[in-house]
Symmetry: C2
Subunit: 315 residues, 2 copies
């Protein structure tokens, strides 16, 4: 089984585990799973597994499926809170089945993560930690938006918790599944962490300057809700520490009253997008440096390619 | 550590595990946990543990906390879907912190269940199964209400999944923590299952005839939403298989246009409440019969007392 076969097997494992005699749960789960996605977290896990000598990718498939399913569960719940209408080029579960079933589908996916992870003993500890951090990150974000306190420092906490923690766990779990020694587990965890930070920053930049057709979702949603953009805006305009709500209010009268267009123009003109990209690039350098502590080989090369992809992706 | 000390320790374990540097998650979690509740599921687990020779109740505390926390997580999410305003005599998380934070608090509690269960290896398998069934039961209920298809058969499926599965798991986990032999694990599982069915039926009856002050929540909420009452109504009126929506529509013109009062009067006059109670009593007999397969002792007596309490409780 090669990497692409393992990714296909991961998708199949997710589809298999969500089978249910309750039709709406199975249908809504299949809807979001089969919409695809980049499967970045499973890729990290598989490559980390191989990079420390793991041979049988099939062994790692259930854990890869679990980590992607955690991510998927949070997407379903995010779309409730954000009123997102399109995700991965499809109608969101919330839009198609309504809030009650979206909430229950997210819960269902969470419980299925348990089912997948149940046989994996100690691996559950770091898995659980990452999942807790993820929800904490989402909550920090919601609180910062609500209280209008989002600034660069809080943004970094949010990104670390909501995205980097699960990337880190994926890399570490891959290593642990191959019974890697602790220094290798730690190096891969560091790689995952920095990669996750860069990934989320790029994601937030794409929310501003991305193409909605390529993205498979609406752009500007996060900006409109006061999320994501802060880091980039701060960087370009010296507003560090100032809340995005203030910024949106300031901009509300220009660009035909469309705050998204106004922010976008300001961010581009002020060089903030460029600055955000430079931060992401610096983080990718750090991710790659962590890989220097591993024995070289094709899987480590694969992890470097993945890091390059995270930076270069247009969607 | 005796049973009451173990219950106190369970509450403390729940409070300890929800500590977070994200204030709203900790506050909202503490709000619902410290509101109390009957702690029926932990009691079942502890008594099952003791009934097969378990000595050190402290060993069972984290698992008891996990099972109560799963239940608590679903309450928080239920109150979003049901727009419940009062729970356990307190404002609901949804009412106090709003939907976004209620959703995230429920998710947070789910992730903390993972954390608590992570060290327990194989026990996670039956735990995960019960949690999946719980969400399936909630979903069946929501689907039946939405599609106006709630009838006696579907009601029984719902009750089995959303309540009896977790009661069953609690009893089995208690036995497994004491390394009980399989026939004892099975007998306790059966006890838990029948007890759970009876518990939910009594709960639904109390939603109709209960005292809202004693209950610590609004009564009639489930009836108003077309849930719960079906079994009792069917029993008293021969409407078996007819959906509750039809019944509510029929009754809408009497009792001053208040369908809850109308249904309540009809149910009492038609003997449906009495019939529901007889069903619950029969299930409690079955629960107690399962206990006959265990070595007699004070913990088995405690399980019988718990069964009697489930039937007799007024709130």
């Amino acid at each position: 089984m090669n990497l692409e076969e393992a990714i296909i097997a991961t998708d199949q494992a997710m589809l298999d585990i969500v089978e249910s005699d309750v039709p709406v749960l199975q249908e809504a789960s299949e809807h979001i799973i089969s919409a695809g996605g980049k499967r970045v977290r499973p890729r990290i896990l598989f490559l980390a597994y191989q990079s420390v000598g793991g041979i049988d990718l099939e062994r790692a498939v259930p854990v890869a499926a679990a980590i992607e399913l955690v991510h998927t569960a949070t997407l379903v719940h995010d779309d409730i809170n954000d009123h997102g209408k399109v995700r991965r080029g499809r109608t969101t579960v919330n839009e198609k089945w309504g809030r009650t079933f979206a909430l229950l589908t997210g819960d269902y996916l969470f419980t299925k993560v348990y089912s997948l992870m149940a046989p994996y003993g100690d691996l559950n500890v770091s898995f659980a930690e990452a999942t807790v951090a993820l929800v904490e990150g989402e909550t920090l974000q919601a609180a910062a938006v609500k209280n209008n306190t989002l600034n660069r420092e809080i943004y970094q906490q949010i990104v670390a918790k909501k995205t980097a923690s699960l990337f880190r766990a994926g890399a570490m779990l891959g290593a642990q599944l191959a019974d890697a020694e602790q220094p290798y587990v730690d190096a891969l965890g560091e790689y995952g962490f920095f990669l996750g930070l860069a990934f989320q920053i790029v994601d937030d930049l794409l929310d501003i300057v991305g193409d909605s057709t390529l993205m498979g979702k609406e752009v500007g949603v996060d900006v409109g809700q006061g999320k994501g953009v802060t880091l980039a805006y701060d960087a370009g305009n010296g507003h560090s520490g100032e809340s995005i709500g203030v910024v949106v209010a300031e901009l509300d009268d220009v660009d035909g009253g469309d705050p998204f267009q106004a922010i976008k123009r300001k961010l581009i003109e002020g060089g903030a997008i460029e600055e955000g990209r430079r931060m992401a690039e610096a983080l990718i350098v750090q991710a790659n440096q962590a890989l220097d502590r591993l024995p070289p080989g094709p899987a480590v090369d694969g992890l470097r390619d993945l890091a390059a992809f995270v930076l270069e992706r247009q969607a």
